[in-house]
């Protein structure tokens, strides 16, 4: 049976979709292949969810950065200097309480730089922050198809908590509303929890957050 005109239309639609994919599969200017796992897209989404929430309790200002990196969020670990950030003020808009940074380096207890995906830093944190300037960190793990947070990922994040001396922090001084269960050091995924028990997350002073994605409701462990 010959292909009908409906079939021909479907072929046209398929070719059009393939063409649209070919232009969207790489970044427009740099030509880098678009990579949902590596390219800071998921991290940007999480960052804006956090900003949205902080905006409910604080005065929030966007600092675009300056120079060559003005308005440029890093797509791999970068120096804080010049990069955009969000400034979190009290209700009156007078006291700078916190800074919210993305993908920028912080030096740990060995004076080695590490770049958590999202860091909440103290108001007075300088352009080359150390662990002393840190309040809490969030790290993003994008999973295709409902994968889990792996044990090595959990262990590595636990190690970062130690390297930043965040293991014993009980109070963070950060008010979140819809995301109130995420105050703390969070390992965030669109997929599922690791198979480690909640007590292990408590021991490490980590929270796992699963199903964190548009249109879904997140779960927090513990």
């Amino acid at each position: 049976m010959a292909t009908s005109s409906a079939g021909k239309q479907l072929l046209n639609a398929a070719r059009l979709a393939a063409k649209k994919l070919s232009v969207s599969a790489q970044w427009v200017s740099s030509g880098r292949p678009l990579n949902i796992a590596d390219d800071f897209i998921y991290e940007m989404y999480i960052l804006l969810r956090l900003v949205e929430d902080l905006h409910k309790s604080y005065v929030v200002k966007y600092d675009p950065g300056n120079g060559i990196s003005k308005h440029c969020f890093p797509c791999k670990p970068a120096n804080k200097h010049g990069r955009p950030r969000f400034l979190i003020y009290d209700h009156a808009g007078k006291h700078l309480l916190l800074q919210l940074c993305a993908g920028t380096k912080i030096s740990d207890l060995h004076n080695k730089d590490r770049a958590p995906d999202i860091s909440v830093q103290k108001g007075a944190s300088p352009n080359d922050p150390t662990l002393k300037d840190l309040v809490m960190i969030w790290d993003a793990k994008y999973r295709a198809k409902n994968g889990r947070i792996s044990h090595p990922e959990l262990s590595e994040f636990g190690r970062w908590i130690e390297l930043f001396e965040l293991r014993n922090t009980k109070k963070y001084g950060v008010t979140l509303v819809q995301l109130k269960d995420m105050v703390g050091n969070c390992l965030i995924t669109n997929g599922n929890f690791s198979t480690e028990p909640p007590e292990e997350c408590e021991r490490l002073n980590i929270k796992e957050v699963a199903s964190f994605f548009p249109g879904r409701t997140e779960n927090v462990k513990p």
Partner: protein
């Protein structure tokens, strides 16, 4: 008996014959089957079919021959499928993204299988779907797709696992997980940023936002990328439950299972994993 695709510029409608000028003696003979093809806009359409009733050969010089083919009546092909439509259904085509390159000559030999496919207007849906999308992503994406998928098919002994329908299933998932999900994230980034933009005290403008790596001057604008991904998502005709485009293709595959099996025989030995219809791999 051979089959040929003949450019309609060689066909003299009034005289009822085809004239081919060649540089050597080609093996065209009485009773050979012909498909007449026609250039139309940016494509080539298979317009008619006929059979050679008689061949008259004139040799003009050492390297110049003229074949005059008296034809039986040329009948119209109704389906109006084109070379691009059939790029993944004809065995002779291997330049998948520029299939017209296979029809540069005025006369082209066709296998019997390809002649039948053109005459019947049949599409190898699973190979077409797989091939179109495999060739549309970047090479690094395609390599990642194969790397991600390969372990799960390593132990496949059955031929069924290597059918294009299977490969189409795998590549669909890859597209959903990598590009469709990216479009959702980027859309939400836009919505959140536009919402924050409404509070002018924040000082954020969505259209300013970019990504860049540390040592690069090249900046990728988030809004431009979001738009491209949104257009891609829209071309798939997504609903909350389904990718309508993918579903429609699946229906074609399922409605033409007999044709799928026949095509598997025609493309004997090919599999989506080991010999994929992708350019230059």
């Amino acid at each position: 008996m051979n089959s040929w695709a003949i450019n309609d510029s060689c066909y003299d409608n009034n005289a009822g014959h085809v004239v081919l000028s060649t540089s050597r003696k080609i093996g065209i003979a009485k009773n050979d089957q012909l498909i007449i093809y026609k250039r139309e806009l940016d494509d080539i359409v298979f317009a008619g079919y006929s059979q050679v009733a008689e061949v008259r050969l004139t040799q003009k010089s050492t390297n110049q021959f003229q074949f005059t083919l008296m034809m039986k009546s040329v009948k119209e092909i109704d389906h109006k499928l084109s070379v691009y439509d059939m790029a993944y259904s004809l065995k002779k085509i291997y330049r998948y993204t520029n299939p017209l390159l296979h029809f540069r000559r005025k006369y082209i030999w066709l296998s019997k299988a390809d002649y039948d496919t053109i005459l019947k207007g049949r599409i190898y849906w699973s190979r077409t779907a797989f091939g179109l999308f495999a060739n549309s992503m970047t090479k690094s994406h395609y390599v990642q797709f194969i790397t991600d998928t390969y372990p799960s098919v390593l132990n496949v002994n059955e031929k069924a696992g290597l059918r294009y329908a299977e490969g189409w299933g795998k590549i669909k998932d890859f597209i959903l997980n990598h590009f469709v999900e990216a479009s959702y994230l980027m859309k939400d980034i836009r919505l959140k940023a536009e919402e924050l933009e409404k509070d002018s005290d924040i000082g954020l403008k969505y259209n300013d936002l970019k990504f860049s790596s540390d040592d690069s001057e090249v900046k990728d604008e988030i809004n431009k990328q979001e738009q491209l991904l949104a257009e891609f998502a829209s071309s798939l005709n997504l609903t909350t439950l389904n990718v309508q485009l993918f579903k429609a293709i699946d229906m074609q595959i399922n409605e033409h299972l007999a044709a799928e099996r026949e095509f598997e025989t025609i493309f004997e030995g090919e599999s989506w994993l080991l010999h994929p219809p992708v350019n230059n791999y």
